[in-house]
């Protein structure tokens, strides 16, 4: 168990590509932190630097206050689960699980090791296939092996790089729950890389949203969702994209001499569709598409030349072409400065 502190971490690759820029991050002891961002945002590079597979250009990483930037990966006591499993297909499941214990030579006896392998196999649900060759396992079981192999060395820090993205949907949901349970029970510090905001929201205690190598926001899922710090975070987090509409402050509200261009952001689920003439209606719109999803409907609208989406409970389902009014809760509206993209 450990805490991680990352200080002004920068990674520049040969050719001048800056993958990570001046990153500051603290992962508290026993917490589950998700690094969230689109591909190429530097999340995997950050992960590789934490594990030691990549050496930072500048900056320092501390585990429990101890600088480890120049410590070899194998000596950092981290567990790493890769997106493509990276299991050793020439070994049995047992051999894979026992690998970390063997190479670390921590003075454990063979019997102790054996007991440990069996205990971890139990946790990840592989007790029945210990003697099978790892190369013939299903994708799902391979990922279990990868998880178990990293877990068995009881790493201080557990790093997972999009571990579930190759799994089928049902098993992914199951593994998410399992992982969260394991993390909770063991009080394990975990850093989880993902580009899937649902995954980040559902599992993490804190989310670090990254884009173009820079940290955009670091906070609880609630913070990131309800109080996005800038337009990127607002647009990236949320299963149906936030609506952005151009706006300007009424002259009466604007400070003297300032007429900043603004963008209004409203989550699709914060908008209510009302009758066109309704007193609560603040905007007129026209329905362009309706996507029924069962538990909810996604209604696509056209608002003064801009596209917008509304998510609501099914029921009074409007028809394509209908004119409707939109009402939204002013407390759930976000405003972004067009010049800085920051929330105001």
């Amino acid at each position: 168990m450990a805490e991680i502190r990352i200080q002004s971490l920068t990674k520049e690759f040969a050719g001048g590509v800056v993958a990570v820029k001046d990153l500051e991050l603290e992962v508290p002891h026993g917490s589950f932190v998700a690094l969230l961002g689109p591909s190429g945002c530097g999340k995997t590079t950050t992960m590789n630097m934490i594990s030691g597979l990549e050496r930072p250009t500048a900056g320092e990483i501390y585990f429990d206050g101890r600088p480890i930037t120049r410590v070899a990966p194998g000596k950092r006591n981290v567990g790493f689960v890769f997106q493509n499993y990276a299991i050793f297909t020439h070994m049995t499941v047992y051999g894979n699980l026992a690998f970390g214990l063997k190479v670390r030579k921590d003075g454990r006896s063979k019997a102790e090791r054996d007991a440990e392998v069996r205990r971890v196999a139990e946790i990840v649900g592989l007790s029945g296939s210990l003697e099978r060759k790892a190369g013939v396992l299903s994708v799902n079981d391979m990922q279990k092996v990868a998880l178990g192999r990293s877990m068995i060395v009881q790493p201080a820090i557990f790093l997972l790089d999009e571990p579930f993205s190759n799994l089928d949907a049902a098993f992914r949901a199951y593994m998410r729950t399992e992982l969260k349970r394991i993390q909770h029970e063991m009080g394990q510090t975990m850093v989880y890389v993902t580009h899937d905001q649902v995954e980040a929201m559902s599992m993490a205690d804190r989310i670090a949203v990254m884009n173009l190598g820079e940290l955009q926001q670091y906070g609880s899922p609630d913070d990131v969702y309800n109080r996005p710090r800038n337009r990127f975070v607002a647009g990236f987090v949320g299963s149906t994209r936030m609506n952005f509409l151009p706006a300007s402050l009424a002259p009466a509200l604007a400070p003297e001499g300032r007429a900043d261009k603004l963008t209004l952001g409203v989550r699709p689920e914060a908008i209510e569709i009302v009758a066109p003439g309704d007193a609560r209606s603040t905007l007129d719109a026209r329905v362009t598409l309706v996507e029924p999803l069962g538990a909810k409907d996604v209604v696509h609208l056209e608002v003064g030349g801009h596209d917008a989406r509304v998510v609501g409970a099914p029921g009074r389902r409007p028809h394509v072409g209908d004119s409707v009014g939109l009402s939204f809760d002013p407390s759930r509206v976000h405003l972004f400065n067009d010049e800085t993209d920051l929330a105001v």
């Binding site: 194998g74 890769f82 493509n84 190479v103």
Partner: protein
């Protein structure tokens, strides 16, 4: 009508396969039968003997120095045992050397782009001129280094000559292994060497086996280098085979065929021993997935 056409096409295919098969298998057939023919048949005056009329082991006895009937024209009996042992030592040594150095080089190139993008081609360039072009300068160098007619001399040159093949073959095998395999081992506590030997090399066992067999066959069948760089101490089997001639009979085809047959055995045994890796090894690495 289409049925008939299909039938004809089938016959055509079978015919082509048969012709190709005969072209490739006939030399083997000829060696096998020749090895068991008495001199009157491998050097006949009465036309071609397609099948030995009089099967005999005389040719084998002769190359192993146990000839009972040393005819009027024949040279003194000789013994190929030494030459075969020399060949085994030199070819095996050269293969081990090339595999050792070449595999490590290939890993460096495949994983860390060691030496820059042009290095693999520079290595391949070593193969882009005929060996005969370097063999005389090499002999002079070897003479200075006192490596002529020594095991070390042959092993060194065999290793050097086949090294580019090992690099190129193993490089493509290594490229098939996801880099995370090594990274996972390193995070688990392995050193770079440990990761290579415990995690990566076992993944390319098939490639290693196929490459080693290929290189061994190259070394095993070398004639030119051995002819120039050895004389009597470490004369290899192909050179010995070439020496099977006599004033009376000229080329001694019978004993040569017998020795040729014996020389097929070591690569064949090797091939059988690693067969289960071969099929995968020969295709694995060839296709980028």
């Amino acid at each position: 009508m289409s049925d008939r056409l299909g039938w004809l096409r089938g016959i055509g295919k079978a015919l082509i396969v048969t012709v190709v098969g005969v072209v490739f298998l006939f030399p083997l057939y000829w060696i096998v039968t020749m090895a068991f023919k008495p001199q009157e048949e491998w050097q006949p005056i009465d036309g071609v003997h397609w099948v030995p009329d009089d099967w005999t082991l005389e040719n084998f006895k002769k190359i192993f120095g146990r000839a009972t009937d040393t005819g009027f024209f024949e040279a003194a009996p000789t013994d190929a045992t030494n030459a075969i042992v020399n060949s085994i030592v030199a070819a095996t040594g050269g293969t081990i050397l090339a595999m050792l150095v070449g595999t490590l080089t290939a890993y460096g190139i495949a994983r860390y782009k060691a030496g820059g993008g042009f290095l693999p081609f520079q290595i391949l360039q070593l193969r882009m001129f005929p060996p005969v072009a370097i063999v005389i300068p090499l002999l002079i160098m070897y003479a200075y280094l006192e490596l002529v007619d020594t095991y070390w001399g042959l092993i060194l040159i065999y290793g050097a000559v086949t090294f580019p093949f090992v690099v190129w073959l193993m490089r493509s095998f290594f490229q098939e292994v996801p880099r995370e395999i090594a990274e996972a081992a390193i995070v688990d506590g392995c050193s770079q060497w440990g990761a290579l030997f415990k995690a990566v090399l076992p993944q390319v066992r098939g490639g290693l086996a196929a490459t080693a067999l290929f290189v061994f066959i190259l070394n095993w069948s070398d004639f030119l280098l051995a002819l120039v760089l050895t004389s009597e101490q470490v004369e290899t089997a192909p050179v010995f085979l070439n020496g099977l001639q006599s004033a009376g009979a000229g080329q001694e085809y019978g004993p040569q065929a017998a020795l040729g047959l014996v020389l097929i055995i070591p690569p064949a045994i090797l091939g059988l021993a690693i067969q289960r890796y071969l099929v995968r090894g020969l295709t694995f690495g060839a296709v980028k997935r």
